[in-house]
Amino acid sequence: MSARIGVITFPGSLDDRDAQRAVRHVGAEPVALWHGTHDLQGVDAIILPGGFSYGDYLRPGAIAAFSPIMTEVIDAANKGMPVLGICNGFQMLVESHLLPGGLIRNAHQQFIRRDQRLVVENASTAWTNTFEAGQEIIIPLKNGDGGYIANDETLKQLEGEGLIAFRYAGLNPNGSLNDIAGLSNERGNVVGLMPHPEHAIEPGFGPNTPAAMRSGVDGLGFFESALNAITARV
């Protein structure tokens, strides 16, 4: 039986269908989940997709983090289920305290869209285990509120315990402290990042790479990693 990976749709989610497509692309079964229920439908992993849930009102991800289904997501995450938060999903993870710190408006005040180079800093999480530590990948980035902040103590802990999953390379697109693009929890099952791996899974539709236009498929590794993690958990 193929792995079942749930993608939760919130009011204002944009990239839920893209995430489902990425899941299908690596041979797993995508399961559409709805924010207003308490039903994870027995999935093996969860993706919180990108978008602008609740119009970013109050704070990006804040209202979604209090959705009914998030009770079950937080519970499952604490029991070790792989959970990936992409962009708005990352904002939900920090708002629900599954990951530390916060995300604020980009330092330059503008929305930014670019094919972003990242360094994989931690290659032993549920969502990064097909990469090598130090590997450089290209993943599309598109956000208005991607500035990662945390207090000094938290930053020290993140650096000291290897909880920074990805760092921006070449250019820091939003003023994130320590060039942080994505984080992992201590257990390695919860990962959040601002760039969008689900947009880099198929040649012809991915980011530009030095090899060719729109040829980037570095996002596949995220979803293949989850399959490894799911197999290892069973």
Partner: protein, 88 residues
Amino acid sequence: MPTIVVDVMPKAELLDPQGKATTGALHRLGHGSFENVRIGKRFEFTVEGEVTDAVLAEVRKVADEILSNSVIEDVVAISVDGVPTEVR
């Protein structure tokens, strides 16, 4: 009907990109005497009946747990019909 006002500000030590952009605009428009502008949020609650200690306690809880994110923001004031209460 009494009104409870909650004021939330970005933490003083953190960058406030909106405030920074506004400061820049004011300076460009000749209002250079304002050295710094910071932008926060104001929430107004109307309640039926009296503002009891229990109501205030509930407002404080909501302010801390939902209206603000303590990682990036502070609840700087809570007032009832213009009269400040103790925030903590």
